[in-house]
Symmetry: C2
Subunit: 242 residues, 2 copies
């Protein structure tokens, strides 16, 4: 099963202090770009793969979603999500996406935010989601960008000119990467963009949009620290359709 790093007290505490954990969707600078990729949700059945604190689930019901199923490996996440949610159309469940089973054609949208880089078998997951959504249904997700993940320990380098550059290494060597982020030895799986897209195409999806997320000029003006996201992408956004 996937490494349950989110239930480790140290990681959970660090995660709870991230802007996106405190402020929700608005604390994630890629959220406006993701919103543009989402279909209208009124009356739709939604599954959120790796729902965390349930911010997206609650937002989806505010948009009129008929139901939201939020799945997360972490018991702490699910407990917190339940504690913050009172909407009867939202259900939370503990689930390991590595071995996920979902009923056939039972969702109009599958959504996931920054979770799939923890998944080893993305081929299987893409097929599972394809099976679970209706014809013309949508699958919209973000994942850590492989440029960000390829080198063992992500971090800026001085290239000798005083300018900071991002090191890429072992890009073609797909597989596990162990990094220190909020806790030691967090296990992620590096895949090229091509491999991710080909898994979706192989599962039967049509690719609708691929975006190597970068902040807008307005976002950088408001939050100058975001400027480094212009230098190398950290997040990949994908929208596809059954």
């Amino acid at each position: 099963m996937a490494q349950n790093i989110y239930d480790q007290p140290e990681f959970f505490m660090g995660y709870s202090k991230l802007p996106r954990s405190i402020h929700g969707l608005g604390g994630a600078p890629e959220w406006p770009a993701i919103q543009e990729l989402l279909p209208p949700l009124a009356g739709r059945r939604v599954v959120d793969l790796g729902c965390g604190f349930g911010w997206f689930a609650r937002w989806a019901t505010e948009q009129g979603a008929a139901s939201v199923l939020g799945l997360d490996l972490s018991q702490r996440m699910i407990e917190r999500a339940k504690a913050e949610t009172g909407h009867p159309a939202i259900e939370y469940r503990i689930a390991d996406l590595e071995h996920l089973e979902l009923p056939k054609a039972s969702f109009d949208l599958a959504y996931s935010s920054l979770v799939f880089h923890y998944i080893e078998d993305f081929d299987r997951l893409a097929k599972t989601v394809h099976h679970a959504i209706v014809r013309n249904g949508h699958f919209v997700f973000s994942i850590e960008h492989p440029i960000y993940m390829a080198a063992e320990q992500p971090g800026w380098l001085d290239d000798g000119s005083g300018r900071m550059t991002w090191p890429v290494r072992r890009y073609a060597a797909e597989g596990p990467r162990r990094t220190d982020w909020l806790a030691r030895d967090v296990l992620k799986y590096h895949r090229t963009i091509g491999t991710t897209l080909n898994a979706l195409i192989g599962a039967g999806f049509t690719i609708r949009h691929v975006q190597e997320w970068a902040p807008t000029a307005g976002q950088v003006a408001a939050s100058p620290a975001l400027a480094e996201e212009l230098e190398r992408p950290m997040i990949l956004l994908v929208a596809c359709q059954r």
Copy 2:
């Protein structure tokens, strides 16, 4: 119009000495991967965008292609291609892909090898190709990978540990890049993978395969210098269909 670097004597002479110029398709290590993306060519009408010395055009007729139109901006390239070709089904023409016009639904396959990074307006070109190929027709091409292109002067960096890493910088800043390769001040246009794919999707294509090319273990064993291509991708392969 696109910069006609290939007609500069210094560049042309350097280009003529590359393994892929001397040995043809077999001199390009990505060729076996491209071949797997091509449809059967027997009886098909092919257009080669940036045909160079005509290696692909001649190969296509060997596969039984009914006709091949080879287009290149460079008069020297076209002269050389004509001099080396005697097949009546192959026609070569000087053309600027930046302002290309092609007749409607007149090709079964559009092919291009390592040319589109010289093109500023890829949106227009994608629409032109979509217009020119038949329904279910194929569009298969290679382009310089944006990881390779993003930083101003591509080159390996020592990250301080003695290991060489590839620097990524200004990835989100799409647009011109001037580099020295075979000649000084070669003008190319950096685009993210997302932008390239979204241009194809916007033109009406369905993405079939995306491959950030890397050599096989067998290729690295035979040509150890190829090992650096495992560290960072230089070539992006895309197959799509109308």
